[in-house]
């Protein structure tokens, strides 16, 4: 039984700092507590930010790199603070944490700041040298066009490409990325007005920058070469060719600028304008929604000889409306701009996908007529391109005055075709039909308030969930498609850029509704049935499509991948069991592990405070009370009333301002102690036997250790270590206005009876404490219980219960083996605790 004494001794004295002075004790306490509080606050901040990041991933909302950056920074900074504070509390231990932290932080930083590796290659390339294999340099659009040019009998305009390498040179020459990131980080993406302002700021920055001299020389040189070849003054079209643009899932249709009829003098400015359009408001919104990173969007730019087009248009090598054996050709006189911006009356043809390319259907009344020969020419080209690229193509073309067909662009179709509704569906009879007809650009049905947008000014006030009504489906309305429930335009066709984007965002779109602007009024609620081409004058729930499988636009995007990669270093928790031998700083794999580790260790160190540092002679004030025991109080900070005279040797309970101590005190006095239980002879024998072997346990023997019980207090903190009869217990609490810092702990150990009875008492205590929301751990005859982060009231009640139990469980271990005693005490304690707490409630 020598272990019991050894255990008690260990509990009562600290090996290192045995007797600090009062000032030292107060200083130790306050500074440690300050650091402990900072650690808890940092822990909270870090966990909150982790939750927000996980939520973003699960919600399927769009989020930006700026979001990932901001949240990661919050987490890493706060984890760093936790480590710092823990090492202070633990006197510099846990150096391994810093190593683990540094590794994780470095990985995260690399994931987030992964800027494009330097692009290797020429700054300027003639289009004849460009093909798919040079996509990294030329950008998607020009790589496709160059590739198309290598197909037999396919003609593309002559020209040259200013590569992404050149763009990178311009950006680094002017140190643009740093500044652009600074501007973009501060953008509130939900605030369209702010977005426009920032976009303008960035574009101005790019327009004002200077090109490296060598680049300017190379561009002019290519232009002159082209002019010499043609043999007369020429004009070019300057078109964007971004990286990642025109990929299968994201078309970036019409988001970037195209400058037409550019001569030699305007060339450099036109180039900068196209570069700047990387940051147009519509491109920024699109990237944000689809999860693309702007640093990755290095723009190649194509300079193509202008084609004097007699007729232009678009060809889908497989029809979007699901007539699987047909391709679809759209056309209008002049350049293709009118078709893709939906401003011109556009003709539409359905043509068989195989020779002799029979025309199945003809719609629209454009002024010029496309000859059957030309239709065959276009169809042949389309099938050749589809064969070369291996997938269905969305092709822009022009035919010049001499009748030559030029391919201007060829890209994969970005969304899957949809099934055509039956040819002539009937409107619902009992509903008010406002409009009918038009073309389905994206199927589906939604209701909302009409909101007519005529200029960018109207764009800013656009309410969430409104039906967007415009004259022409221009690409500049693209930012609104994220918020609009449906789109209506008076002109346009399936082939327009805005139609493409509407499909990517799954926004029901009905185009070519001629009378829309005459009939629809701002603010009026309508239902747009884009599939069947009806517009009803109210909300019609039975036609509104249930878009259950509305896909997440961010799915698999670069930004989503970055978030996933970053999260894998932040949130998984691999250290779960503090009692495991692997619960070590060197085992921390993620930032969550580190927070868990810091929290656990800090709590252990703080909770051990009252254990590690014992009382100071002379600093303790004897509490004047009605109990026979000696209670002493040590003031660590502001635990005594301001009026108390510090030279006194005694203190009254009324002079104590420490709320947790007062709660314990209340619990101790709520119900008078019934006195020691009546012990049968065997029980008493066991106690006497132990007492003779361990003189320290004899309550009659005078010993400073046995006689005095100490409260260490401040206003919000209380640590009480005491012996009552034969058991030893500690109550510690910190209760302040900050929820995250609050806790109550209780440790209980020992007793004089034999082990089985002591264990029985611990069992009973554990049961009572669990009932009152404590988390309890038991090892043998000792018990540790904890409650944290509950309301102040709950915690004060917990302290009252502990106060009560400390008094009333005295010596009951002696009778624990008697039959029925366990039950008797359980009932008595439960009843009295209930009485005490309800009494307290009435007082409040």
């Amino acid at each position: 039984m020598k272990t019991l004494l050894a255990r008690l001794k260990r509990l009562f004295s600290s090996p290192a700092a045995a007797h600090p002075t009062l000032e030292e004790l107060q200083h130790l306490f306050t500074s440690r507590y300050l650091h402990f509080r900072e650690l808890l606050t940092a822990n909270n901040n870090a966990l909150e930010a982790m939750a927000e990041m996980e939520k973003a991933l699960l919600d399927g909302r769009s989020y930006s790199m700026a979001f990932i950056r901001a949240k990661s920074t919050i987490i890493t900074v706060n984890v760093f603070k936790m480590i710092d504070n823990l090492r202070y509390i633990a006197d510099g231990r846990y150096g391994q944490l810093v190593v683990a932290y540094r590794n994780i932080e470095k990985t995260i930083d690399e994931l987030i700041d992964q800027s494009r590796p330097a692009v290797e290659g020429d700054w300027v390339l003639p289009l004849t040298r460009v093909n798919r294999s040079l996509v990294e340099l030329s950008g998607e659009k020009m790589a496709n066009l160059g590739e198309a040019g290598t197909v037999k009998d396919i003609q593309i305009p002559e020209g040259f490409v200013i590569t992404s390498g050149a763009a990178q040179a311009v950006f680094s020459h002017n140190n643009l990325f740093t500044e652009i990131n600074r501007i973009i980080q501060q953008t509130d993406a939900r605030d369209l007005e702010d977005l426009h302002r920032r976009s303008h700021q960035v574009q101005k920055l790019i327009m004002a920058c200077s090109l490296p001299t060598e680049l300017e020389r190379l561009i002019k040189e290519q232009f002159d070469l082209l002019e010499n070849k043609i043999g007369r003054p020429i004009e070019v079209a300057v078109r964007s060719s971004g990286l990642g643009e025109d990929l299968g899932r994201a078309s970036f249709a019409g988001l970037y600028r195209t400058e037409l009829h550019i001569d030699r003098d305007q060339l450099i400015d036109a180039y900068k304008a196209v570069l700047a359009s990387t940051y147009s408001a519509r491109a920024m919104t699109y990237r944000l929604t689809k999860g693309y990173r702007h640093e990755q969007m290095l723009m190649g730019v194509g300079c193509l000889l202008m084609v004097e087009a007699a007729v232009s248009g678009v060809c889908y090598s497989r029809s979007m409306t699901g007539e699987r054996q047909c391709m679809e050709i759209f056309w209008a006189p002049g350049s293709g701009k009118g078709v893709v911006e939906g401003t011109k009356d556009t003709g539409r043809l359905l043509v068989k996908r195989h020779y002799p390319f029979e025309i199945i259907e003809k719609k629209g009344t454009p002024l010029s007529v496309l000859s059957d020969k030309q239709v065959t020419q276009i169809s042949e080209a389309a099938m050749k391109l589809e064969a070369r690229f291996g997938t269905e193509q969305d092709i822009e073309w022009s035919i010049d005055s001499s009748g030559s067909l030029f391919i201007l662009q060829s890209r994969p179709i970005s969304v899957s075709p949809w099934a055509q509704s039956q040819p002539d569906p009937a409107p619902l009879a009992d509903q008010q039909l406002l409009l009918r007809g038009g073309v389905t650009a994206c199927p589906g049905a939604e209701a909302g308030q009409v909101w007519v947008v005529r200029s960018t000014v109207d764009l800013l006030g656009f309410p969430h969930g409104a039906v967007l009504v415009v004259e022409h489906p221009l690409p500049e309305w693209a930012p609104l498609l994220r918020r609009a429930s449906a789109l209506i335009a008076t002109t346009g066709s399936v082939a327009g850029h805005l139609a493409t984007i509407a499909r990517e965002f799954n926004c029901p779109a009905l185009l070519g509704v001629r009378d829309a602007l005459n009939v629809l009024q701002n603010g009026q609620v309508v239902t747009v049935d884009a599939t069947s081409r009806f517009i009803y004058g109210d909300r019609v729930d039975q036609v509104i499509s249930c878009n259950v499988d509305k896909q997440n636009p961010m799915h698999n995007s670069p930004v989503e991948q970055t978030l996933k990669a970053v999260l894998s270093r932040i949130t998984p928790l691999t250290l779960t069991d503090p009692t495991s031998p692997f619960f070590r700083s060197s085992r921390c794999r993620t930032l969550h592990d580190i927070t868990r580790f810091c929290h656990e260790k800090a709590v252990v160190d703080m909770f051990g405070f009252g254990e590690r540092y014992r009382y100071v002679k002379g600093a303790a004030k004897r509490l004047v009370g009605n109990m026979p025991m000696e209670w002493w109080v040590i003031n660590l900070a502001d635990g005594f009333a301001a009026t108390y005279d510090a030279s006194n040797k005694y203190i009254l309970i009324d002079e104590i301002t420490c709320e947790p101590m007062l709660a314990i005190w209340q619990g101790m006095h709520a119900i008078p102690w019934a006195g020691p239980p009546r012990v049968n002879v065997r029980g008493m024998g066991a106690i006497l036997f132990q007492s003779t072997r361990n003189p320290g346990l004899d309550p009659a023997a005078p010993s400073a250790m046995v006689q005095k019980n100490y409260f260490l207090i401040s206003k919000n903190y209380c640590n009480l270590s005491f012996r009552l009869g034969y058991h030893y217990a500690t109550i510690e609490a910190y209760i302040s206005s900050l929820r995250t810092e609050r806790y109550v702990t209780f440790r209980f150990k020992g007793g004089a009876a034999d082990e089985s009875r002591r264990i029985a008492r611990v069992e009973l205590l554990a049961e009572l404490l669990v009932r009152h929301q404590f988390r309890v751990e038991k090892i043998g005859d000792s018990l540790a219980a904890r409650v944290e982060k509950r309301s102040q009231n709950v915690l004060y009640n917990c302290l009252k219960i502990l106060g009560y139990l400390s008094i009333h469980t005295r010596q009951i271990d002696m009778v624990m083996s008697a039959p029925g005693q366990m039950m008797r005490y359980r009932n008595k304690f439960n009843k009295e605790i209930k009485e005490m707490l309800s009494h307290g409630k009435r007082e409040n």
């Binding site: 200083h27 950056r69 901001a70 990661s72 920074t73 900074v77 760093f80 932080e105 930083d109």
Partner: protein, 142 residues
């Protein structure tokens, strides 16, 4: 009666001027400096309780100025302002002894919370040091 004093260091003139005005309204003594060099000239031990310091400035950057300030007056608490925050720039400030960092744009409430907390720390640290000094003087009267 001012509660404590703040120095705002930021090269963005609009931001700086608005900040100084707003902080004065909150009963703080407040000055502004357009760059790090000027800030260091205005700075001396005990003159400011808290410094609000932009990380990104032309000339010497915020981290450098932070280190200088901590050398001159270790008790002064510095709150870093970052625009384009990367993990790196957020942490560096803390490593070199900044109290915390704030990301632009921020709302006034958060800013005040941070400034108050920074001042609270400065005050309690200072008190501790003063107490230790008094004790030392009493133990070894000169």
């Amino acid at each position: 009666m001012t509660r404590y004093s703040v120095l705002v260091v930021d090269d963005e003139q609009d931001f700086r001027e608005i900040m100084v005005k707003k902080l004065r309204k909150k009963e703080l003594e407040c000055d502004g400096a357009p760059d790090g060099e000027t800030a260091l000239q205005m700075f001396s031990p005990g003159k400011y309780d808290v410094v609000l310091l932009d990380v990104k400035m032309p000339g010497r950057d915020g981290i450098e100025i932070l280190q200088e300030m901590k050398k001159i007056a270790p008790m002064t608490e510095v709150v870093m302002l970052t625009g384009h925050a990367s993990v790196e720039s957020g942490i560096n400030g803390i490593k070199f002894g900044a109290f915390d960092y704030l990301m632009k744009p921020m709302d006034m409430e958060r800013l005040m919370e941070k400034l108050d907390a920074a001042y609270e720390r400065k005050r309690s640290q200072q008190q501790k040091i003063e107490m230790a000094q008094i004790k030392k003087d009493m133990a070894m009267p000169s």
